[in-house]
Amino acid sequence: MVTEAEVRQALRGVFDPELGLDVVDLGLIYGIAVEDGAVRVDMTLTTRGCPLHEAMADWVREAVGRLDGVERVDVRLVWDPPWTPERLSEAARRELGL
């Protein structure tokens, strides 16, 4: 059965094409729940109506869906709490030159 850690690792393959950072380092992943082959990912975007938000959700869905044991992927966009740059990982801050 797939684990939360495996899902999180798979999400490191989903990149913001402008920043070159993955959605985990960007702090966009708010929660991962795994139950009987069904995976739910709660994620946010930096702003509502983000330019590629449909595409980003699709990329997350496809990345998780490729994992063995995953039968269904549910991606939910959430806006509370709103994203802030404080959610960037240390690696992301270094990459951005902060």
């Binding site: 402008e18 070159g20 930096t46 595409a55």
Partner: protein, 431 residues
Amino acid sequence: MIGLPGLDTRRAPSPALPLRFLATGAGAFVLLQAFLAVRGGSVFTGRYLDWATVGAVHLATLGWITMVMVGAAYQLIPVLLQVGLFSERLGRLSYWPLAAGAAGMVAGFWSRRIGLVVAGGFLAAFGLALFLYNAVQTLRGVRAWTPGGRALGAALAFLLLTAAWGVLLLVGLHHGALGGAFPRHLAAHAVLGVAGWVSLTIVGVGYRLLPMFALSHGHSLRRQGWTALALGLGAAGGAAGALGAGRGAAGLGAALVACALAAFCLDTAAILRRRRRRLEPVSLLSAAGVACGGAAAALAGLGVAGWLPPGVPAGRVVTAVAYLALGGWASLMIAGQLLKIVPFLVWLGRYGERAGREPVPLVRDLYDPRLGTWAFRLLLPGTLGGAGAVLAGSPAAGALFSGVNLAGALALAAAVGQAVLGRRSPPRGPG
């Protein structure tokens, strides 16, 4: 996604539509700097009504600035205001008369052929009319207006007025109908265009794009609406003053524009202070553009108040204001945005469907980032030096600094060209 927050690209046209305008504009920018380096003597001696100068101004305003802003508007109006573009076909149709018309006008001015100026002008006006119709029909579908959207709407109104005054001037040029009033209408045309259409677009879009590109959060945008309002009123007042409402109206208009630019300058500084990434050429060029805009407004205010620098004729002050406004404020801001928008559009068109399924490059892999850095390093001193050359009345210094600007424009065009033509880019991860 951080790249373009608040922009839903599902409603945008295919990237090819805005890209043709943006690439053409970049080419016009190179041509402009080449002309100023080789034949810009009339500009740097303040002969702003000289045929060569007017030709250069129209290459700058129509060929470079408006061409890029129209292309960007086709992309940004739908995504900023969450509404589908009315007609992509109409958008493609609008390109040819605008491009050919601008080329005809400039060629006409440079060869002193009034017939070519008038023909080119009417053609360009037709192209702009097609764009305005498309834009207005698109805006009719907007459900939720934002301050930036209202600024864009106002900018389009000023574009209509600028084009209308342009047509009036063409008729005046051809038939001599305006007589002694021609200079006043020319001044109104310039104010409506630069303070209205150009500045309102830059401000309206800038408040959205600058934080996005700088990865900046937490700054206040409460001045955004007032900045755009002051710009609009200032442009109207300035035009009214030019048309005979008196120095009071012109002075009030200049003051409002100056206040608006000062507010935008403060907000730009606040945005950049709160950035969460290292400064990139887009932010550096934007900051430089804002600073030039402030300088232009300050110089214009001094001129309207009658406080001209001693020994500097009014003609050189007018030309220096125009140079800073068009070459600094507008050009540097637009150059910075091009370095982000063009690669993003190319990426969207080429890799958007493939991302997530196969390794694809990042947006920044599409062009050599050193080109953007060099564009900034060259365009800022070139522009400031060029403005100084105008005030000093020195064609030699003007040619020198235009050469610097030409190198910067070539760096910018090379970055645009690399992205469009497909720089060899290593794919990255699964996407």
